[in-house]
Amino acid sequence: ACGASNESDDSNSGSDGGGDTQELSGELVGAGASSQQAAMEAWQAGFEGEYPGVRFSYDPAGSGAGREQFIAGSTAFAGSDAALDDEELAQAQERCAGGEVFELPNYISPIAVIFNLEGVDELDLSPATIAGIFTGAITSWDDPAIAADNPDATLPGTAITPVHRADDSGTTDNFTDYLFQAAGDVWTSEPDGEWPLPGGEAANQTSGMVEVVGSVDGAIGYADASRAGDLGVANVAVGESFAAPTPEAAAAVVENSPAVEGRGEYDFAIELNRLTESADEYPIVLVSYHLGCITYDDQETADNVAAFMGYVISEDGQAAAAENAGNAEISDALREQAQTAVDAITAG
């Protein structure tokens, strides 16, 4: 009687094509990265369509919080912009009845270098130039370094306002990781979720970043490519050419990156290849994982997690997410790999 009009059991369930809704019940609780929130909405909606009996919730509390809650056992799975470190891995295994942990790179999204410069729509930037801009070494848009990357462009003398994230974020972590690996001497700070340099213009969340870059002529920042909107998006030097942050290029770089060494059978954490020279790959990519147990204490949770992860990596699931969040779909190779983990989930 008190439900929302779109929640009544009979009206909606299974209406979108799935046909055979399955008999699962109970709860499925996850928490973690907010980066995948938009994709998660799509996954949740699709999953709830197929399994109307399961009460699903995902708390976009942040990757760190997600990992902690998972380890503490208060959630069944976590979303995380970073793979578990060794210490966390040990704790996670303990939480998983002493068994194995899965880490699936299910959300892949290119990070765009966004800019707002009157009269300039196209911009190519090399890693060293980007780093120079963000360290404050390059202060004006007509700097020779930028001109060298863009021989054909007419660049104004506008001052550059570099904008970084004020909050601790996966986006910053990946962006600084890229600069650290690709920019050579120009960038010396260790990669970190918190912006490592003092001072400068800082903005909260991707939305703050987009707002600030959008409001200041001469501003430059970095954000999830799907959120760039009307802002200029720079092409980033890859080898001899410049690549745009397309989903395909992002998926490609993930597929071709090596796995992290010495992890479990179902732990597919990867070491992103930031130094790729392939023109089809875009190196500034954020990968957000789903973390969970291979063995759960109870059957219900195991079934629910398996069903959810199965849906997420399915073509339907990936397509739904891509449509809502603008991220890259995982490749077939990654899907097959992930499927082995999903199949292995049991209770015990």
């Binding site: 929640e7 919730s57 056992g73 939305s207």
Partner: protein
């Protein structure tokens, strides 16, 4: 300064009247002078590069100075001071209107897009992209706020009563002092505290609306105590004595004489306290999280609330960004309407009880 302001100079006495009517500015002179000041201010700001803010600032300053100077010259120091304060006080009100209008305009401008039936009847259950609504979040906010109010108002009001009617010595001092300290607890810390408390009591995976209500209560209680205390202090002792002298026990005196006399102020205070917490995001983010469906049971499971809903819609939109932003602003608009409605209810209640003042 002191010598030339001595009393009203008899020189300033015009016509025959016995009341030493000092010369007076004509009725509309202050307005005219003020307008003149604003005009000069506009000209000045045009010289220095025209902008709305500088025009207003220069204008108000010059207008005020013009009125003061003219009044000072014609009517003397006291009258001039009076006019100056009138200008200042009116300006203060005007200044406050600027952000208010701007804020309300911003919220209305952005929030009316989705102010439709669907928004009130639908939740976000299985909604991707466009559509959906905040039905679940509205109910969540109402339930959690009601719960927080139910916790905070009795405790806060009783504590205020203690402070005003019973308190003595150290305990009173301690409570007054620490209630002030409590107002400084950051909302996010309140959330962390409630989270830790419930985790301690009910284990790791316990999540419920009541956690949020407790977090909000930590923020709300000091506001209730402080504002109620101030209002109760204003009830004249005469009335208490009149009641005691009729053989009415103290507690009945408090309940039936003191509280009704102060009810209008209490209403304001409690409304203020509710308004203070109803829009809180951080503590709810930590404690009750967010779900897409409707949960009406505050003792089990996560709940959606309007501020958290708005926050995520604003900060984590999908590709179809506008749909998310629209939902966020409409949620904000709804919050404002909610508090307004509450305000009206409080006024009605107090109108019902309030003393009709006479001499």
């Amino acid at each position: 300064m002191s010598t030339d302001t001595q009393a009203a100079p008899p020189a300033a006495t015009p016509q025959e009247g016995p009341v030493r009517v000092q010369r007076k500015l004509p009725r509309y002179a202050p307005f005219g002078l003020f307008a003149g000041g604003v005009a000069v201010g506009a000209a000045l700001s045009a010289l220095t590069g025209f902008s709305v803010i500088s025009t207003v600032v220069y204008g108000v300053v010059l207008g005020t100075v013009a009125v003061y100077a003219a009044s000072r010259a014609v009517e003397g120091r006291r009258k001039a001071t009076d006019r100056l304060v009138t200008s200042l006080v009116t300006t203060a009100f005007g200044i406050a209107m600027v952000p208010l209008v701007s804020l309300v305009w911003t919220v209305l401008d952005n929030g009316l897009a989705r102010f439709d039936g669907q928004f009130f009847s639908n939740s976000m259950y299985r909604v991707v992209g466009e559509g959906g609504g905040a039905y679940h979040a509205v109910l969540g906010t109402l339930i959690i706020t009601a719960l927080a109010t139910a916790i905070s108002v009795p405790i806060g009001l009783m504590a205020a009563i203690y402070l005003v009617e019973y308190g003595t010595g150290r305990l009173k001092k301690a409570i007054t002092f620490f209630v002030d300290v409590m107002t400084g607890i950051p909302s996010i810390v309140a959330g962390l505290f409630a989270f830790a408390l419930f985790t301690l009591l009910f284990g790791n995976d316990f999540r419920a609306g009541v956690m949020g209500a407790v977090a909000l209560s930590v923020l709300m209680i000091p506001v209730v105590v402080r504002s109620c205390e101030e209002v109760l202090k204003l009830v004249p002792n005469e009335l208490r004595e009149a009641s005691y002298a009729l053989g009415v026990p103290k507690w009945r005196t408090v309940m039936k004489v003191v509280l009704p006399t102060a009810v209008a102020g209490l209403g304001t205070g409690i409304t203020l306290a509710v308004a203070r917490v109803v829009g809180e995001t951080a503590p709810l983010l930590i404690t009750v999280g967010l779900i897409t469906g409707t949960n009406l049971n505050p003792f089990d499971g996560r709940m959606a609330t309007l501020p958290v809903f708005a926050y995520y819609q604003l900060t984590q939109p999908g590709v179809n960004e506008q749909a998310f932003l629209d939902r966020a602003w409409t949620a904000a608009l709804l919050l404002i309407i909610l508090v307004m409605a509450l305000n009206v209810v409080a006024r009605l209640i107090s109108r019902f009880f309030a003393p009709t003042t006479g001499r």
